[in-house]
Protein backbone atom coordinates (compact mmCIF):
# COMPACT_ATOMS: atom_id res chain seq x y z
CA UNK A 1 0.00 0.00 0.00
CA UNK A 2 1.22 3.46 -0.85
CA UNK A 3 2.02 6.07 1.70
CA UNK A 4 -1.04 8.31 1.93
CA UNK A 5 0.95 11.48 1.41
CA UNK A 6 2.16 10.63 -2.06
CA UNK A 7 -1.37 9.90 -3.31
CA UNK A 8 -2.42 13.22 -1.84
CA UNK A 9 0.33 15.06 -3.60
CA UNK A 10 -0.35 13.44 -6.96
CA UNK A 11 -4.10 14.01 -6.69
CA UNK A 12 -3.86 17.61 -5.58
CA UNK A 13 -1.12 18.79 -7.92
CA UNK A 14 -1.42 16.64 -10.98
CA UNK A 15 -4.96 15.28 -11.30
CA UNK A 16 -7.62 17.46 -9.66
CA UNK A 17 -6.53 20.71 -11.37
CA UNK A 18 -7.35 19.07 -14.70
CA UNK A 19 -10.90 18.07 -13.77
CA UNK A 20 -13.93 20.37 -13.93
CA UNK A 21 -14.40 22.25 -10.67
CA UNK A 22 -17.53 20.33 -9.66
CA UNK A 23 -15.79 16.97 -10.02
CA UNK A 24 -12.56 18.01 -8.39
CA UNK A 25 -14.47 19.31 -5.36
CA UNK A 26 -16.44 16.07 -5.21
CA UNK A 27 -13.36 13.86 -5.35
CA UNK A 28 -11.39 15.98 -2.93
CA UNK A 29 -14.18 15.64 -0.37
CA UNK A 30 -13.64 11.86 -0.26
CA UNK A 31 -11.43 10.90 2.71
CA UNK A 32 -7.95 10.50 1.30
CA UNK A 33 -7.27 7.24 3.05
CA UNK A 34 -9.99 5.68 0.86
CA UNK A 35 -8.25 6.91 -2.27
CA UNK A 36 -4.81 5.47 -1.50
CA UNK A 37 -5.17 2.78 -4.16
CA UNK A 38 -6.81 5.00 -6.80
CA UNK A 39 -5.79 3.91 -10.31
CA UNK A 40 -8.48 5.27 -12.62
CA UNK A 41 -11.12 8.00 -12.72
CA UNK A 42 -13.77 7.39 -15.38
CA UNK A 43 -15.95 10.16 -16.75
CA UNK A 44 -18.70 9.20 -19.19
CA UNK A 45 -21.25 11.67 -20.46
CA UNK A 46 -24.56 11.09 -18.69
CA UNK A 47 -23.20 8.06 -16.78
CA UNK A 48 -22.11 7.63 -13.16
CA UNK A 49 -18.69 8.84 -12.03
CA UNK A 50 -16.62 5.72 -11.33
CA UNK A 51 -13.36 5.36 -9.45
CA UNK A 52 -11.16 2.30 -9.77
CA UNK A 53 -9.31 1.59 -6.56
CA UNK A 54 -6.80 -1.16 -7.22
CA UNK A 55 -9.00 -3.95 -8.53
CA UNK A 56 -12.18 -2.62 -6.91
CA UNK A 57 -14.71 -0.31 -8.50
CA UNK A 58 -16.65 2.37 -6.64
CA UNK A 59 -19.25 4.99 -7.50
CA UNK A 60 -19.23 8.40 -5.86
CA UNK A 61 -22.46 9.92 -4.58
CA UNK A 62 -23.35 13.61 -4.70
CA UNK A 63 -22.00 14.16 -1.18
CA UNK A 64 -18.58 12.77 -1.99
CA UNK A 65 -19.01 9.35 -0.39
CA UNK A 66 -17.95 6.10 -2.01
CA UNK A 67 -20.87 3.81 -2.75
CA UNK A 68 -21.58 0.50 -4.47
CA UNK A 69 -25.05 1.56 -5.47
CA UNK A 70 -25.27 2.95 -9.02
CA UNK A 71 -28.65 4.53 -8.21
CA UNK A 72 -27.04 6.96 -5.80
CA UNK A 73 -24.03 7.73 -7.97
CA UNK A 74 -23.17 11.21 -9.17
CA UNK A 75 -23.85 11.51 -12.92
CA UNK A 76 -21.28 13.26 -15.11
CA UNK A 77 -22.89 15.98 -17.27
CA UNK A 78 -22.13 16.95 -20.85
CA UNK A 79 -20.90 20.33 -19.59
CA UNK A 80 -18.38 18.58 -17.33
CA UNK A 81 -17.01 16.53 -20.21
CA UNK A 82 -16.66 19.71 -22.28
CA UNK A 83 -14.98 21.53 -19.39
CA UNK A 84 -12.56 18.65 -18.84
CA UNK A 85 -11.51 18.74 -22.49
CA UNK A 86 -11.13 22.51 -22.29
CA UNK A 87 -8.87 22.36 -19.24
CA UNK A 88 -6.78 19.42 -20.44
CA UNK A 89 -6.19 21.04 -23.82
CA UNK A 90 -5.41 24.39 -22.14
CA UNK A 91 -8.25 25.80 -24.26
CA UNK A 92 -6.18 24.96 -27.32
CA UNK A 93 -7.75 22.07 -29.17
CA UNK A 94 -5.47 22.63 -32.17
CA UNK A 95 -2.44 21.81 -30.00
CA UNK A 96 -3.76 18.27 -29.50
CA UNK A 97 -3.64 17.28 -33.17
CA UNK A 98 -1.47 14.22 -32.55
CA UNK A 99 -3.24 13.35 -29.30
CA UNK A 100 -6.67 13.50 -30.92
CA UNK A 101 -5.43 11.13 -33.56
CA UNK A 102 -4.07 8.69 -30.99
CA UNK A 103 -6.98 8.88 -28.57
CA UNK A 104 -5.05 9.83 -25.47
CA UNK A 105 -3.07 12.68 -24.00
CA UNK A 106 -0.53 12.82 -21.21
CA UNK A 107 -0.79 15.20 -18.29
CA UNK A 108 2.20 16.76 -16.60
CA UNK A 109 3.47 14.01 -14.30
CA UNK A 110 2.98 11.24 -16.85
CA UNK A 111 -0.68 10.48 -16.19
CA UNK A 112 -2.41 9.22 -19.29
CA UNK A 113 -5.90 10.37 -20.15
CA UNK A 114 -7.66 8.25 -22.74
CA UNK A 115 -10.78 9.45 -24.50
CA UNK A 116 -13.36 8.24 -26.99
CA UNK A 117 -15.87 9.95 -29.23
CA UNK A 118 -16.62 9.94 -32.93
CA UNK A 119 -13.63 9.23 -35.15
CA UNK A 120 -13.02 11.36 -38.22
CA UNK A 121 -11.51 9.21 -40.94
CA UNK A 122 -9.64 10.53 -43.95
CA UNK A 123 -8.15 8.23 -46.57
CA UNK A 124 -8.68 5.19 -44.38
CA UNK A 125 -6.77 6.69 -41.45
CA UNK A 126 -8.07 8.32 -38.32
CA UNK A 127 -7.56 12.06 -38.61
CA UNK A 128 -9.10 13.15 -35.37
CA UNK A 129 -11.78 12.44 -32.79
CA UNK A 130 -14.76 14.73 -32.31
CA UNK A 131 -17.73 14.77 -29.95
CA UNK A 132 -15.62 13.39 -27.14
CA UNK A 133 -17.91 11.58 -24.74
CA UNK A 134 -15.77 9.80 -22.16
CA UNK A 135 -12.47 10.12 -20.35
CA UNK A 136 -10.33 7.65 -18.50
CA UNK A 137 -7.83 9.37 -16.23
CA UNK A 138 -5.12 6.88 -15.28
CA UNK A 139 -2.98 7.74 -12.32
CA UNK A 140 0.64 6.87 -12.93
CA UNK A 141 2.55 6.07 -9.79
CA UNK A 142 6.20 5.95 -9.20
CA UNK A 143 7.30 3.28 -6.76
CA UNK A 144 11.04 3.33 -6.17
CA UNK A 145 11.96 -0.17 -5.16
CA UNK A 146 9.18 -1.87 -7.16
CA UNK A 147 11.85 -3.86 -9.02
CA UNK A 148 14.01 -4.78 -6.00
CA UNK A 149 12.83 -8.39 -6.09
CA UNK A 150 13.62 -8.93 -9.77
CA UNK A 151 16.87 -6.99 -10.14
CA UNK A 152 19.18 -9.89 -9.15
CA UNK A 153 17.73 -11.94 -12.02
CA UNK A 154 18.30 -9.23 -14.61
CA UNK A 155 21.97 -8.34 -14.22
CA UNK A 156 25.40 -9.87 -14.00
CA UNK A 157 28.54 -7.98 -13.03
CA UNK A 158 28.96 -6.23 -16.35
CA UNK A 159 25.67 -5.90 -18.11
CA UNK A 160 21.91 -6.16 -18.05
CA UNK A 161 20.26 -9.13 -19.73
CA UNK A 162 17.84 -8.61 -22.61
CA UNK A 163 14.58 -8.68 -20.72
CA UNK A 164 10.93 -8.95 -21.71
CA UNK A 165 8.25 -8.02 -19.19
CA UNK A 166 4.92 -9.69 -19.90
CA UNK A 167 1.84 -8.37 -18.18
CA UNK A 168 -1.87 -7.86 -18.64
CA UNK A 169 -2.96 -4.19 -18.57
CA UNK A 170 -3.16 -2.63 -15.10
CA UNK A 171 -0.72 -5.02 -13.44
CA UNK A 172 2.20 -2.67 -12.89
CA UNK A 173 4.12 -3.15 -16.11
CA UNK A 174 5.18 0.44 -16.65
CA UNK A 175 5.96 0.99 -12.97
CA UNK A 176 8.20 -2.07 -13.04
CA UNK A 177 9.89 -0.95 -16.25
CA UNK A 178 10.55 2.51 -14.85
CA UNK A 179 12.10 1.22 -11.66
CA UNK A 180 14.32 -1.29 -13.45
CA UNK A 181 15.51 1.55 -15.72
CA UNK A 182 16.23 3.72 -12.69
CA UNK A 183 18.20 0.98 -10.91
CA UNK A 184 20.21 0.08 -14.03
CA UNK A 185 21.01 3.74 -14.58
CA UNK A 186 21.95 4.63 -11.01
CA UNK A 187 23.55 1.27 -10.28
CA UNK A 188 23.06 -0.87 -7.19
CA UNK A 189 25.71 -0.38 -4.50
CA UNK A 190 27.94 -3.45 -4.22
CA UNK A 191 26.10 -5.28 -6.97
CA UNK A 192 26.07 -3.35 -10.20
CA UNK A 193 27.63 -0.14 -11.41
CA UNK A 194 25.31 2.16 -13.35
CA UNK A 195 25.14 2.02 -17.15
CA UNK A 196 23.85 4.37 -19.85
CA UNK A 197 20.13 3.90 -20.38
CA UNK A 198 18.09 5.22 -23.30
CA UNK A 199 14.30 5.34 -23.03
CA UNK A 200 12.04 5.70 -26.05
CA UNK A 201 8.90 6.96 -24.36
CA UNK A 202 6.27 6.95 -27.06
CA UNK A 203 3.38 7.60 -24.71
CA UNK A 204 5.28 9.75 -22.20
CA UNK A 205 4.40 7.23 -19.51
CA UNK A 206 7.74 5.81 -18.43
CA UNK A 207 9.54 9.05 -17.69
CA UNK A 208 6.45 11.27 -17.63
CA UNK A 209 8.39 13.95 -19.50
CA UNK A 210 6.87 17.41 -19.60
CA UNK A 211 8.36 19.68 -22.26
CA UNK A 212 11.15 17.16 -22.70
CA UNK A 213 12.23 16.91 -19.05
CA UNK A 214 11.51 13.64 -17.18
CA UNK A 215 9.21 14.24 -14.23
CA UNK A 216 9.77 10.76 -12.83
CA UNK A 217 13.01 9.47 -11.43
CA UNK A 218 14.46 7.34 -14.22
CA UNK A 219 18.08 7.56 -13.10
CA UNK A 220 21.06 9.81 -13.63
CA UNK A 221 22.52 8.07 -16.69
CA UNK A 222 19.22 8.00 -18.55
CA UNK A 223 18.40 9.80 -21.79
CA UNK A 224 14.73 10.08 -22.70
CA UNK A 225 13.44 10.45 -26.24
CA UNK A 226 9.96 11.64 -25.49
CA UNK A 227 6.81 11.07 -27.58
CA UNK A 228 8.83 9.34 -30.28
CA UNK A 229 7.60 6.30 -32.24
CA UNK A 230 9.38 3.26 -30.78
CA UNK A 231 10.99 1.73 -33.84
CA UNK A 232 12.46 4.97 -35.17
CA UNK A 233 13.37 6.15 -31.70
CA UNK A 234 15.40 3.04 -30.92
CA UNK A 235 17.52 3.46 -34.04
CA UNK A 236 17.92 7.20 -33.34
CA UNK A 237 19.12 6.53 -29.80
CA UNK A 238 21.65 3.93 -30.93
CA UNK A 239 23.11 6.39 -33.41
CA UNK A 240 23.10 9.45 -31.23
CA UNK A 241 23.37 8.59 -27.53
CA UNK A 242 25.32 5.28 -27.41
CA UNK A 243 23.06 3.66 -24.80
CA UNK A 244 24.00 0.33 -23.22
CA UNK A 245 20.37 -0.50 -22.54
CA UNK A 246 17.31 0.68 -24.46
CA UNK A 247 13.96 0.71 -22.69
CA UNK A 248 10.63 0.65 -24.54
CA UNK A 249 7.08 0.03 -23.38
CA UNK A 250 4.29 -1.99 -25.01
CA UNK A 251 5.84 -3.36 -28.18
CA UNK A 252 3.58 -5.12 -30.66
CA UNK A 253 4.08 -3.87 -34.19
CA UNK A 254 6.29 -5.66 -36.67
CA UNK A 255 8.49 -2.53 -36.98
CA UNK A 256 9.19 -2.72 -33.27
CA UNK A 257 10.43 -6.28 -33.67
CA UNK A 258 12.73 -5.25 -36.53
CA UNK A 259 14.14 -2.42 -34.44
CA UNK A 260 14.74 -4.80 -31.54
CA UNK A 261 16.69 -7.17 -33.79
CA UNK A 262 18.68 -4.22 -35.08
CA UNK A 263 19.49 -3.09 -31.55
CA UNK A 264 20.59 -6.55 -30.45
CA UNK A 265 22.83 -6.80 -33.50
CA UNK A 266 24.32 -3.41 -32.59
CA UNK A 267 25.27 -4.87 -29.21
CA UNK A 268 22.76 -2.88 -27.21
CA UNK A 269 20.76 -4.63 -24.49
CA UNK A 270 17.02 -4.27 -24.27
CA UNK A 271 14.40 -3.88 -21.62
CA UNK A 272 10.99 -4.23 -23.19
CA UNK A 273 7.43 -4.75 -22.03
CA UNK A 274 4.50 -6.30 -23.83
CA UNK A 275 0.81 -6.90 -23.11
CA UNK A 276 0.07 -10.55 -22.48
CA UNK A 277 -0.67 -13.14 -19.86
CA UNK A 278 2.09 -15.66 -20.40
CA UNK A 279 4.85 -16.87 -22.67
CA UNK A 280 2.88 -19.56 -24.46
CA UNK A 281 0.14 -17.12 -25.37
CA UNK A 282 2.66 -14.58 -26.69
CA UNK A 283 4.49 -17.12 -28.84
CA UNK A 284 1.36 -17.40 -30.93
CA UNK A 285 1.24 -13.74 -31.81
CA UNK A 286 2.50 -13.59 -35.43
CA UNK A 287 4.32 -10.28 -35.05
CA UNK A 288 6.26 -11.48 -32.02
CA UNK A 289 6.94 -14.99 -33.28
CA UNK A 290 10.43 -14.13 -34.47
CA UNK A 291 11.52 -12.79 -31.09
CA UNK A 292 10.93 -16.16 -29.49
CA UNK A 293 12.29 -18.24 -32.36
CA UNK A 294 15.58 -16.41 -32.35
CA UNK A 295 15.69 -16.29 -28.56
CA UNK A 296 16.54 -12.63 -28.49
CA UNK A 297 15.57 -12.28 -24.86
CA UNK A 298 17.50 -13.78 -21.99
CA UNK A 299 15.01 -13.11 -19.21
CA UNK A 300 11.21 -13.12 -19.16
CA UNK A 301 9.27 -11.63 -16.27
CA UNK A 302 5.56 -12.42 -16.08
CA UNK A 303 3.49 -10.01 -13.99
CA UNK A 304 -0.06 -10.59 -12.87
CA UNK A 305 -2.66 -9.60 -10.34
CA UNK A 306 -3.08 -12.91 -8.50
CA UNK A 307 -1.87 -11.42 -5.21
CA UNK A 308 -2.67 -7.77 -5.89
CA UNK A 309 -1.48 -5.42 -8.58
CA UNK A 310 2.08 -6.04 -9.68
CA UNK A 311 2.56 -9.60 -8.45
CA UNK A 312 5.68 -11.21 -9.92
CA UNK A 313 4.23 -14.48 -11.17
CA UNK A 314 7.15 -16.12 -12.94
CA UNK A 315 10.66 -15.43 -14.18
CA UNK A 316 12.24 -17.48 -17.00
CA UNK A 317 15.67 -17.52 -18.63
CA UNK A 318 16.43 -17.80 -22.36
CA UNK A 319 15.87 -21.59 -22.37
CA UNK A 320 12.44 -20.91 -20.81
CA UNK A 321 13.63 -22.55 -17.60
CA UNK A 322 11.79 -21.21 -14.61
CA UNK A 323 13.99 -19.19 -12.27
CA UNK A 324 11.15 -18.14 -10.01
CA UNK A 325 7.59 -19.38 -9.70
CA UNK A 326 4.64 -18.11 -7.70
CA UNK A 327 5.56 -15.51 -5.15
CA UNK A 328 6.26 -16.49 -1.54
CA UNK A 329 3.92 -14.98 1.02
CA UNK A 330 6.12 -12.06 1.93
CA UNK A 331 6.65 -10.95 -1.66
CA UNK A 332 6.37 -7.21 -1.94
CA UNK A 333 3.17 -6.08 -3.58
CA UNK A 334 3.37 -3.37 -6.16
CA UNK A 335 0.34 -1.16 -6.43
CA UNK A 336 0.28 0.82 -9.57
CA UNK A 337 -1.21 1.10 -12.98
CA UNK A 338 -0.19 0.44 -16.54
Amino acid sequence: MLPERSTNRILENEILPYLPRTLSLLISSIPRIQLAALTEIRLRKGKPLILHLGLREQFVDADGRLTKNPERAYVVSAAEIAAALNIMSQSSLYALEEELRNGYLTLCGGHRVGFVGQALVEGGKIRSIKHISAFNVRIAREIPGAADAVMPYLINMHRAYNTLIISPPQCGKTTMLRDIARQLSNGIPGMFSGIKVGIVDERSEIAGAYEGVPQKNVGMRTDVLDACPKAEGMIMLIRSMSPQVIVVDEIGKIEDVHAIEEAVRAGVNLLVSVHGTGISQLKERPSLHKLFRERLFERYIVLGCSRGVGTIEEIYDEQFTELLHKPPGDRKEIKSCG
Binding site: R21, Q90, S91, S92, Y94, E97
Partner: protein, 173 residues
Protein backbone atom coordinates in the same frame (compact mmCIF):
# COMPACT_ATOMS: atom_id res chain seq x y z
CA UNK B 1 -9.63 92.23 -15.13
CA UNK B 2 -7.02 89.74 -13.90
CA UNK B 3 -9.69 87.30 -12.97
CA UNK B 4 -11.18 87.58 -16.46
CA UNK B 5 -7.78 86.94 -18.03
CA UNK B 6 -7.24 83.92 -15.84
CA UNK B 7 -10.68 82.60 -16.69
CA UNK B 8 -10.08 83.08 -20.40
CA UNK B 9 -6.76 81.22 -20.20
CA UNK B 10 -8.39 78.38 -18.32
CA UNK B 11 -11.21 78.09 -20.87
CA UNK B 12 -8.78 78.01 -23.80
CA UNK B 13 -6.54 75.50 -22.00
CA UNK B 14 -9.50 73.24 -21.27
CA UNK B 15 -10.96 73.20 -24.77
CA UNK B 16 -7.50 72.76 -26.33
CA UNK B 17 -6.86 69.81 -24.08
CA UNK B 18 -10.19 68.29 -25.07
CA UNK B 19 -9.36 68.85 -28.74
CA UNK B 20 -5.93 67.27 -28.44
CA UNK B 21 -7.37 64.35 -26.54
CA UNK B 22 -9.92 63.72 -29.30
CA UNK B 23 -7.17 64.04 -31.92
CA UNK B 24 -5.04 61.58 -29.95
CA UNK B 25 -7.65 58.88 -30.43
CA UNK B 26 -7.50 59.33 -34.17
CA UNK B 27 -3.74 59.20 -34.03
CA UNK B 28 -3.55 56.06 -31.92
CA UNK B 29 -6.29 53.96 -33.46
CA UNK B 30 -4.41 53.01 -36.66
CA UNK B 31 -1.30 52.21 -34.60
CA UNK B 32 -3.19 49.94 -32.26
CA UNK B 33 -4.90 48.23 -35.19
CA UNK B 34 -1.49 47.67 -36.76
CA UNK B 35 -0.18 46.23 -33.50
CA UNK B 36 -3.15 43.89 -33.22
CA UNK B 37 -2.43 42.58 -36.69
CA UNK B 38 1.17 41.88 -35.82
CA UNK B 39 -0.07 40.09 -32.69
CA UNK B 40 -2.36 37.87 -34.73
CA UNK B 41 0.44 37.26 -37.21
CA UNK B 42 2.63 35.99 -34.37
CA UNK B 43 -0.25 33.92 -33.04
CA UNK B 44 -0.63 32.35 -36.46
CA UNK B 45 3.02 31.29 -36.42
CA UNK B 46 2.68 29.86 -32.92
CA UNK B 47 -0.46 27.93 -33.82
CA UNK B 48 0.59 26.77 -37.26
CA UNK B 49 4.22 25.83 -36.72
CA UNK B 50 4.64 25.46 -32.98
CA UNK B 51 1.20 24.04 -32.04
CA UNK B 52 1.83 26.14 -28.94
CA UNK B 53 -1.02 26.06 -26.40
CA UNK B 54 -2.70 29.44 -25.98
CA UNK B 55 -1.47 30.35 -22.48
CA UNK B 56 2.16 30.01 -23.60
CA UNK B 57 1.46 31.71 -26.93
CA UNK B 58 -0.27 34.66 -25.21
CA UNK B 59 2.65 35.03 -22.84
CA UNK B 60 5.00 35.25 -25.80
CA UNK B 61 2.76 37.85 -27.44
CA UNK B 62 2.71 40.00 -24.30
CA UNK B 63 6.49 39.84 -23.96
CA UNK B 64 8.15 43.12 -24.90
CA UNK B 65 4.85 44.66 -25.92
CA UNK B 66 3.87 47.76 -23.98
CA UNK B 67 0.63 49.68 -23.98
CA UNK B 68 -2.96 48.46 -24.08
CA UNK B 69 -2.43 45.62 -26.58
CA UNK B 70 0.35 44.00 -24.53
CA UNK B 71 -1.76 44.43 -21.40
CA UNK B 72 -4.66 42.78 -23.22
CA UNK B 73 -2.64 39.64 -24.10
CA UNK B 74 -1.44 39.45 -20.53
CA UNK B 75 -4.97 39.91 -19.18
CA UNK B 76 -6.40 37.09 -21.32
CA UNK B 77 -3.78 34.69 -20.01
CA UNK B 78 -4.33 35.75 -16.40
CA UNK B 79 -8.10 35.51 -16.70
CA UNK B 80 -7.75 32.02 -18.13
CA UNK B 81 -6.07 30.90 -14.92
CA UNK B 82 -8.25 33.05 -12.65
CA UNK B 83 -10.32 30.03 -11.74
CA UNK B 84 -10.56 26.40 -12.70
CA UNK B 85 -12.72 25.70 -15.73
CA UNK B 86 -12.51 29.21 -17.24
CA UNK B 87 -13.11 29.07 -20.98
CA UNK B 88 -11.03 30.93 -23.51
CA UNK B 89 -14.08 32.76 -24.76
CA UNK B 90 -15.02 34.14 -21.34
CA UNK B 91 -11.42 35.14 -20.54
CA UNK B 92 -11.15 36.85 -23.91
CA UNK B 93 -14.39 38.81 -23.50
CA UNK B 94 -13.60 39.98 -19.96
CA UNK B 95 -10.20 41.21 -21.11
CA UNK B 96 -11.70 42.82 -24.18
CA UNK B 97 -14.15 44.86 -22.05
CA UNK B 98 -11.16 46.03 -20.04
CA UNK B 99 -9.23 46.90 -23.19
CA UNK B 100 -12.20 48.91 -24.47
CA UNK B 101 -11.74 51.38 -21.63
CA UNK B 102 -8.07 52.02 -22.31
CA UNK B 103 -7.67 52.05 -26.05
CA UNK B 104 -8.51 54.07 -29.13
CA UNK B 105 -10.36 51.21 -30.83
CA UNK B 106 -13.92 51.76 -31.92
CA UNK B 107 -16.87 49.53 -31.08
CA UNK B 108 -16.58 48.11 -34.58
CA UNK B 109 -12.90 47.15 -34.11
CA UNK B 110 -13.71 45.52 -30.81
CA UNK B 111 -16.43 43.45 -32.44
CA UNK B 112 -13.90 42.01 -34.87
CA UNK B 113 -11.89 40.88 -31.88
CA UNK B 114 -14.96 39.60 -30.07
CA UNK B 115 -15.99 37.42 -32.99
CA UNK B 116 -12.47 36.12 -33.35
CA UNK B 117 -12.24 35.32 -29.64
CA UNK B 118 -15.34 33.14 -29.85
CA UNK B 119 -13.51 30.71 -32.15
CA UNK B 120 -10.03 30.86 -30.63
CA UNK B 121 -8.73 27.45 -29.57
CA UNK B 122 -12.03 25.73 -30.34
CA UNK B 123 -11.06 23.82 -33.45
CA UNK B 124 -8.19 22.19 -35.31
CA UNK B 125 -5.24 24.00 -36.81
CA UNK B 126 -6.61 24.56 -40.32
CA UNK B 127 -9.79 26.04 -38.97
CA UNK B 128 -7.89 28.28 -36.56
CA UNK B 129 -5.74 29.64 -39.38
CA UNK B 130 -8.87 30.46 -41.37
CA UNK B 131 -10.34 32.44 -38.48
CA UNK B 132 -7.02 34.21 -37.92
CA UNK B 133 -6.77 35.20 -41.57
CA UNK B 134 -10.32 36.52 -41.53
CA UNK B 135 -9.72 38.61 -38.41
CA UNK B 136 -6.46 39.95 -39.82
CA UNK B 137 -8.07 41.04 -43.08
CA UNK B 138 -10.89 42.74 -41.18
CA UNK B 139 -8.37 44.55 -38.99
CA UNK B 140 -6.39 45.59 -42.07
CA UNK B 141 -9.53 47.10 -43.61
CA UNK B 142 -10.26 48.91 -40.36
CA UNK B 143 -6.69 50.18 -40.32
CA UNK B 144 -7.00 51.69 -43.80
CA UNK B 145 -10.12 53.59 -42.84
CA UNK B 146 -8.47 54.60 -39.56
CA UNK B 147 -5.58 56.23 -41.45
CA UNK B 148 -8.01 58.16 -43.61
CA UNK B 149 -9.91 59.35 -40.59
CA UNK B 150 -6.68 60.32 -38.90
CA UNK B 151 -5.70 62.53 -41.84
CA UNK B 152 -9.12 64.11 -41.91
CA UNK B 153 -9.85 64.55 -38.25
CA UNK B 154 -6.64 64.79 -36.26
CA UNK B 155 -5.79 68.38 -37.24
CA UNK B 156 -9.40 69.37 -37.29
CA UNK B 157 -9.99 68.39 -33.67
CA UNK B 158 -6.84 70.12 -32.49
CA UNK B 159 -7.81 73.33 -34.27
CA UNK B 160 -11.38 72.96 -33.12
CA UNK B 161 -10.22 72.76 -29.51
CA UNK B 162 -8.18 75.93 -29.64
CA UNK B 163 -10.58 77.88 -31.81
CA UNK B 164 -13.59 76.77 -29.82
CA UNK B 165 -11.94 78.08 -26.67
CA UNK B 166 -11.16 81.36 -28.37
CA UNK B 167 -14.76 81.68 -29.59
CA UNK B 168 -16.13 81.13 -26.09
CA UNK B 169 -13.73 83.72 -24.68
CA UNK B 170 -14.63 86.29 -27.33
CA UNK B 171 -18.34 85.69 -26.89
CA UNK B 172 -18.28 86.20 -23.14
CA UNK B 173 -15.56 88.79 -22.81
Amino acid sequence: MWIKMLGATLVIAATSWAGFEAAQRFQQRPRQLRELQSCLQMLETEINYGLTPLPTALEKLAEGREGPIGDFCCAVKNELFAHQGMTMRAAWNISLDLLGKHCALTECDQNILRNFGATLGMSDRHDQIKHLKLAMSQLAAAETSAWEEKLKNERMFRALGILGGLAVVILFY
